[in-house]
Symmetry: C2
Subunit: 153 residues, 2 copies
């Protein structure tokens, strides 16, 4: 069986073990000689979604994710909330959705079918990663520490 192209996506702002668990699972779906392509959310999309900019600008997040051994390519996302667009552009065999990633599945499946693509959507399981594995808890840890201990030097 030849490898597949798997698409994963996210913000990846401050890398942590939750990101690794997600991307490693996604890479497994690609099989031998498969390819994992990761889409990095644009700064402006993140700001719109959560009302706060990322810590790391998009090109820095892209380069860090691409430096991971099991990532074959990391690309900046598109300036649209329609996730079908990047799927149509990159034509993956599989879309790996993290356990906490939401998108309009019905719309996505419809667009995929309209375009004649055979892309499958796979919802990954939550892996109980030990340790800090959400960006929110990491930011909170940094802020709480400095509230008690003053500014960073």
């Amino acid at each position: 069986m030849t490898g597949k192209r798997v698409l994963a996506a996210g913000k990846f702002d401050i890398l942590h073990l939750g990101h690794l668990a997600y991307l490693e699972q996604a890479k497994t779906l690609a099989g031998e000689n498969g390819e994992l392509v990761v889409i990095i959310a644009l700064d402006k999309i993140i700001e719109k979604e959560r009302g706060a900019p990322p810590v790391f600008p998009q090109e820095q997040r892209r380069r860090l994710v691409e430096a991971l051994g099991f990532v074959d390519k990391a690309l900046l996302g598109l300036d649209t909330e329609d996730h079908a667009e990047i799927v149509i552009q990159t034509r993956p065999d599989i879309i790996a959705l993290g356990y906490d990633q939401y998108t309009n599945l019905e719309h996505l499946e419809q667009r995929i079918s309209e375009m004649g693509l055979k892309t499958k959507i796979v919802r990954l399981e939550k892996i109980i990663a030990d340790g800090l594995n959400s960006s929110t808890s990491i930011r909170k840890r940094i802020i709480d520490f400095y509230k008690e201990n003053g500014s960073p030097q």
Copy 2:
């Protein structure tokens, strides 16, 4: 020419492009088929050195660094400030010192020579990495943002 074993070291707390630049330079020194081994500073050594714990505990930092494509192995450091000890244990051909990493070079060279090792110490150049490339500036960015905008959700 066969590849060499290169030793790099650091805290690697919140990965950024400065870390990548350092480790990529270190890997280049290893040559073809060479091996880059990265030593991750223990939490207790960091706390002693700067009076603050790292954001990520040591095993999480180790796993993130080891996930980088050009890192062959990441090991936790030793509970000592004598950097010669880990060099004697890992017997590298080259020690890659970052431009901002300080150690007692005279002592290190003496111990290396006493042990009959041929390890060379190479001081890497500062690469002007664009963007956020120091842990201090990253922490400051997170804190400043939340001071103005309230707690993370």
